[in-house]
Structure formats: structure tokens, C-alpha cells
């Protein structure tokens, strides 16, 4: 049901940059929830000065993400808050960076990858992921309490898994984890962020060149052998997959464990009934929604959204954390309820850019949480909850560290 005229309702507030400050570690910024209650789409002033839009409701966010009139092309976007790696006037996406492209370029890249991330292929990795998880938890147990769950568990497991899948030496992890941290830190300068990105690109380009000479049984070698991509393109894809493959799941494991420890009734329910595991993963994805800055889409033509006219060229920011707490879509949205069916959440996005690695992420989370809870029946925070360092200062939300004891 469309509103008649935007001027007939309360004056539209102009939000100045996308808010990220939180009063509760697990809830979206309160101002986003207040905006969603008021209206599903608001005016947003982007840090570069241009005015665009901010969408906070579930149906509208989902609709924009699925609508080909809204483009993902990088050169059309504005960053909704200052992010060093997003320039005010970005150029076209670099070779292989298909998240910043529309069809048919996007399709050409994604098609090279879809068969490697199917539900079946990811389930084939389950035993290997289970062994990697068990080894890391054993090491953590040997180390003894307290331990930092991020360093011992949440970060190394997805890092090792994506390294094995791509064919990136895990011994180089300090390098790529450091570069990723600099790239995604909101306080990095533009020069620092670009330096980190160039460094990652060069590192993976070197690896691609070596694998062209001496292929192995891994995804980078397979992409090279496919013949449809040059070395720059394979390196670009590898940068994307390496970052997305370790950074996002790591934060879901870290922040997810924090959330479970702070909701003892839910934790107890999950321990008592392992059949809740799949539901629990979906609900944690919905409840925590760690992609907290963007995504953005640029209107290719004038589009009416919920009674507002989005003009061609204007950028719309979708707040996935706010959308996933929309009471119109999820009852009691601010409650963590592992028994609910949270399928349809937007934590992996929606539309043709929906996360390529989501089935891998699901298995890593299901295995990770199940083994963690089984091995440490008395797992608890080793610091006061207010002393857990939150990643409000990063492009992907989560915890910087999570001291635990058992």
C-alpha cells in the first residue's frame, strides 16, 4: 500500500551517515530501529555530501536487492559512512571483483564459481571441517583457561578451511589476516587501506602465477585450468574469496558464542537438543547480522519505493541488521530464539549477489558451535561482558577477542 505523498506525513529526517554505535552488543543501533518504526525508507546524507536513501525494513530491503533497476556497479556507489577503501568517486570494479559488477560481467565470473560452492560440495568438506575444528579445540583445551576464543577457534578454523579450498598456504595467514584487518578497519586511512588491498592482490597474483606453472588440486588451479580467466582476474577472485571466506564466518563464530553465553536459556536448550543446530545457525545469522555497513545499490532509473521517488543515480543503503529485526517479518525480533524458523533472513543478502559461500559458512558454524559446546560443558566468559571489545570500528561487525574459561 503506497503512501499518498511523502509531505503529508511527518517531515522526513535526514540521517547524516549510517549509524554504527550500539547500546547493546547484539542489537542494531537504536536509531536504525527507530527509523524503521517510523518509515521503511529515509533520506541519508553520504559522507561525500550526496543525498540518497536508507532502507530499514525487511520487505523493502529484500525488494531492492532483487530488483535489477538497482545496480551494484562499483563506480555508481557511495559509501554510507566513511570507509577508507571506498572512495567517493570509485572507478569500475577491478578484474575479478564481481561483487562490484552487474550482469553480464557478474554472471560471467559467478558462473566460474557456482559448481565449487554447491550444497553437496560443501557437505563433502564436512568431515575435514570437523577434524580441523576438533584439532583447534583440543589445542585450546591443552592451553588451558583462559583463552581468547577468537584467536584459538573463531578465526583460525575458517581461515584454514578457505586456505585449503583455494590453495593458499596457511603459513601465510599472518600476512593476509593483517592486510584484511587494515583493509576493513574503519579508522584506516585511504592510503593504508589501498596499500593493504594492493598487497593482498600482489600476494595472490604471485600465487596464481606459481600455480599456472605447477597446478595443484585446489580452486585457484581449477580456475586457471578453466581457461576463461586471466591471472589478474583469478587473483581478484581469490582476494574476494579469501577475505569473505575467513572474516565473516570468524565473526559469526566469535560474536555467536558471545551471544549464546549471554543467553543461558538458549544455550541450555541447544545443549539439550542438538537437533536445534541448524535452526540455531539461521537464528544467530538473523539475530547478529554482522554485515552492518551497506550493502548499497544505485538506481539506474527513477524508481518509486514505498511512496518515495528514488531518482536515477541516487544510492540506496540497505541496513541488513535493521531489516532482520523487522517485527513485520519476524515475531519478537529482538529476542534470540533458537527454536524459531529464521529462514529467509537477509544475513547473506538477497538477489544475484547473495553470498556465494553461504553453504560453507553454515557447515562451519554448525560444526563449530556443536563441537565447542560438547567439549566445554562449562564454557563461560572470562571477563565482564561489558569488557568484550566489539568491532563497531570494522566493516564486518563482531568481537575483536572473546576471553573464555571452562
Amino acid at each position: 500500500m503506497a503512501k499518498t505523498m511523502p509531505t503529508s506525513v511527518a517531515p522526513m529526517p535526514l540521517v547524516d551517515g549510517l549509524p554504527v554505535e550500539r547500546s547493546d552488543p547484539f542489537d542494531p543501533p537504536a536509531v536504525l530501529e527507530a527509523l524503521r518504526e517510523e518509515r521503511p525508507i529515509s533520506r541519508l546524507r553520504y559522507p561525500g555530501g550526496s543525498q540518497g536513501w536508507l532502507v530499514t525494513s525487511y520487505p523493502l530491503a529484500r525488494a531492492v536487492l532483487a530488483d535489477p533497476r538497482f545496480s551494484r556497479r562499483r563506480e555508481l556507489q557511495h559509501a554510507p559512512r566513511r570507509i577508507a577503501f571506498e572512495e567517493e568517486h570509485p572507478g569500475p570494479a577491478e578484474p575479478g571483483f564481481f561483487i562490484g559488477m552487474d550482469p553480464p560481467e557478474h554472471t560471467r565470473y559467478r558462473r566460474q564459481l557456482t559448481s565449487h560452492f554447491t550444497v553437496r560440495r560443501m557437505r563433502d568438506l564436512e568431515d575435514r571441517i570437523a577434524r580441523i575444528t576438533a584439532e583447534h579445540l583440543e589445542a585450546m583445551e591443552r592451553h588451558g583457561p583462559p583463552a581468547d576464543l577468537v584467536a584459538a577457534f573463531a578465526l583460525p578454523i575458517p581461515s584454514l578451511v578457505i586456505c585449503e579450498l583455494l590453495g593458499v598456504p596457511y603459513t601465510d595467514r599472518e600476512k593476509f589476516q593483517h592486510d584484511t584487518r587494515v583493509l576493513l578497519h574503519l579508522d584506516s586511512s585511504f592510503e593504508e587501506a589501498m596499500g593493504a588491498l594492493v598487497s593482498l592482490r600482489q600476494y595472490l597474483h604471485g600465487l596464481v602465477v606459481r600455480k599456472r606453472e605447477a597446478p595443484a588440486d585446489d580452486l585457484i588451479s581449477t580456475l586457471i585450468a578453466g581457461g576463461g580467466l586471466d591471472d589478474e582476474e583469478v587473483a581478484g577472485i581469490a582476494v574476494l574469496l579469501l577475505i569473505a571466506g575467513h572474516e565473516t564466518t570468524a565473526n559469526m563464530l566469535g560474536l555467536g558464542t558471545f551471544a549464546l553465553l549471554q543467553h543461558p536459556d538458549q544455550l541450555a536448550a541447544l545443549r539439550a537438543d542438538p537437533s536445534l543446530e541448524e535452526n540455531a545457525v539461521e537464528e544467530l545469522l538473523r539475530y547478529l547480522t554482522i554485515v552492518h555497513i551497506g550493502p548499497t545499490r544505485a538506481a539506474l532509473e527513477d524508481v518509486e519505493l514505498d511512496g518515495e521517488l528514488v531518482r536515477a543515480g541516487e544510492v540506496v543503503t540497505l541496513s541488513l541488521p535493521a531489516a532482520n529485526r523487522d517485527p513485520e517479518r519476524f515475531g519478537n525480533p529482538d529476542g534470540l530464539d533458537l527454536r524459531r524458523s529464521a529462514t529467509g533472513h537477509l544475513a547473506f543478502g538477497h538477489g544475484i549477489h547473495q553470498c556465494l559461500g553461504q553453504q560453507l559458512a553454515r557447515i562451519e558454524m554448525r560444526t563449530g558451535f556443536a563441537q565447542l559446546l560438547a567439549r566445554f560443558p562449562n564454557l563461560r566468559l572470562a571477563v565482564e561482558p561489558e569488557n568484550v571489545q566489539l568491532r563497531t570500528d570494522m566493516a564486518i561487525y563482531g568481537v575483536h577477542s572473546l576471553p573464555v574459561a571452562w
Partner: protein, 69 residues
């Protein structure tokens, strides 16, 4: 209920296989959707959910008509 799949716009996210593995498959070759068979009456809800969850709109419900595949 009759389901149509459009492999040209499928992005291989796998939500259909995750949701309704008896009805949908991802091809080993290209990771894109394959319709194994039309859902029977008892499977209408799950097939509908898979349709809803498809991120690219590659799975659609056709008009009610001839139930034969």
C-alpha cells in the same frame, strides 16, 4: 502447483537444495538449479518455501493447470 526453473538467471546459491532436496538439485557441472520433479500435493509448502527463498527469482510457481509433469 507447478514449478518452473530458469537456469539463465540462477546464481547457484543453493537455497532450493537446502530447503527441498527431493525436488531441486544443483548440477555438479555448473552448480545451477535442476528440477528433479514436480512437487506432489504434500510437498506444496516446502516447494513454495524454496521458491520464496530463491535469491535470484530463478524458481517460480506456474499457474495452476495440468498437474502432470
Amino acid at each position: 502447483m507447478r514449478i518452473n526453473v530458469d537456469r539463465d538467471i540462477c546464481c547457484g546459491a543453493g537455497m532450493c537444495v537446502l530447503t527441498a532436496p527431493d525436488i531441486f538439485e544443483q548440477s555438479d557441472e555448473d552448480g545451477l538449479v535442476v528440477l528433479l520433479r514436480q512437487p506432489d500435493a504434500a510437498e506444496a509448502d516446502i516447494a513454495g518455501e524454496a521458491t520464496q527463498l530463491c535469491p535470484s527469482g530463478a524458481i517460480t510457481v506456474a499457474d495452476e493447470g495440468d498437474p502432470a509433469n
